[in-house]
Symmetry: D2
Subunit: 149 residues, 4 copies
């Protein structure tokens, strides 16, 4: 299901600390994957889901199967970044999420992250729990209704 | 100058994400140093100082010269932690800061961090900029006055 | 210049430690970017180049402008990984490098990393230093000669 | 049991990569805890023990309960560090380990790490597996014999 048209964009703000930088004086590029993950975690949380609970209750975990990022401009210590989360596709066992990191209106990095649902014990693909699918679709369709005349 | 009696405690909240955990299922102990540093950075910020600006304007950096931590109980994914910052001693070129990480009233980790001021180019010890010293002492003395009958 | 046909594959071995894992019990996916970078650093080193020296002497740095990774199977604590580096394209200011992480004959993760050369002070694109270009081409052409009947 | 007198010092070498540095241009101090841990892991390995196996077979994990480090001089990108591991005390459920990081004869950082053995499921203190205790004592006593006239 391609949900790009209907999906609202979730935003999460975060600060750049010493731990995020490297000797180039800027944010180490691998850390954008951490920033993007924090934003996805908060996006799931505002939909009502915590991943530690998901693992304990449903024995399921979301794992990242693909990442594709472009780094456009460097972020520095003390910068405040806005990280977006936008669901582009969702299937029964995986999702494609588009994310961007902005600083004061300048796009610094962006990319696509593919997430799959797996069993916490065996790492075999499994269905995304129904409650999460419903929450994802509800968000999409409610927005779709808002946009429909 | 021992300022422990007069110093208010600053608090900074943060979330535990996947990046912070290890295969033991809990927060990797080295990451408490990151959490403590984030809290110190926000403590300096609310006093009016940004470290990137300090480096560019004054050519000075705070570096950590000693850390002593005790790990009491594990934190897990999705936990919300409260990290405290308490100035215990301040000299002309260094400070001793006491920090704790709490989750819902349970103390998880605590320790002391010694910070020194150095030249950004040569890493040689230098005086803490006067404006920062004044801000530190003002905070301490204003609180002391509040507490004095 | 497309150098894929002629380029030998460089390999770098590394161990998985606690710091690399997450609460899923496996290597945190963002850390493959670190593993890949370590391998590229050693690849440059065996060509005769150190990046700290490059920064100090030529005022140039290699920065990552694009990463595209697929995560195929999880690595765990204590695993020994083999990480490959294969130059696919090189221009005057950037390179495309293909990398894979293997464990005992099983491919765990792979991807493409685009590297650009920038000024260390201004982050503006600059030419890759001539000595490095020569070393890259020499490696390629010497292998090409080996393969030619 | 205080084993400091008899204990040989184990050494592990490692390279500083971009991931280890921060915007100060040097190794981020928290990363010495990672370096020290890598060395302890290799020290246990040469004694015949892998921690992933320990967790799976004995349901036990080593966790860090205290760290006390002094940072004396900065390490930089491309530096090669020698990290030492020296067992200072070992009890039935915990050990105290002294560690140092050197670069070409210069001591950069040092400290003490207290390690405890806990159940992997409940994090409750447990005895260090007998085979590990024996290996630790054997190393100590064999050296003691070597030193005894």
């Amino acid at each position: 299901m391609n949900v790009a048209q209907q999906q609202p964009v979730f935003r999460h703000g975060l600060r750049v600390y010493w731990e995020d930088t490297d000797a180039g004086g800027v944010v180490f590029y691998a850390n954008y994957l951490k920033f993007f993950e924090r934003a996805r975690t908060e996006w799931l949380r505002q939909l009502g889901f915590e991943q530690e609970r998901l693992r304990l209750d449903a024995g399921a975990m979301f794992v990242v199967s693909e990442t594709a990022l472009r780094y456009l401009a460097p972020a520095r210590l003390d910068d405040w970044l806005d990280v977006s989360v936008e669901l582009r596709e969702r299937g029964r066992a995986s999702m494609l999420i588009r994310q961007q990191a902005w600083r004061s209106g300048q796009l610094l990095a962006e990319g696509e992250i593919r997430i799959g649902c797996v069993g916490a014990a065996d790492f075999k693909p499994c269905r995304i729990p129904a409650a999460i699918l419903q929450a994802l679709d509800k968000t999409s369709s409610s927005l779709a209704q808002d946009l429909t005349p």
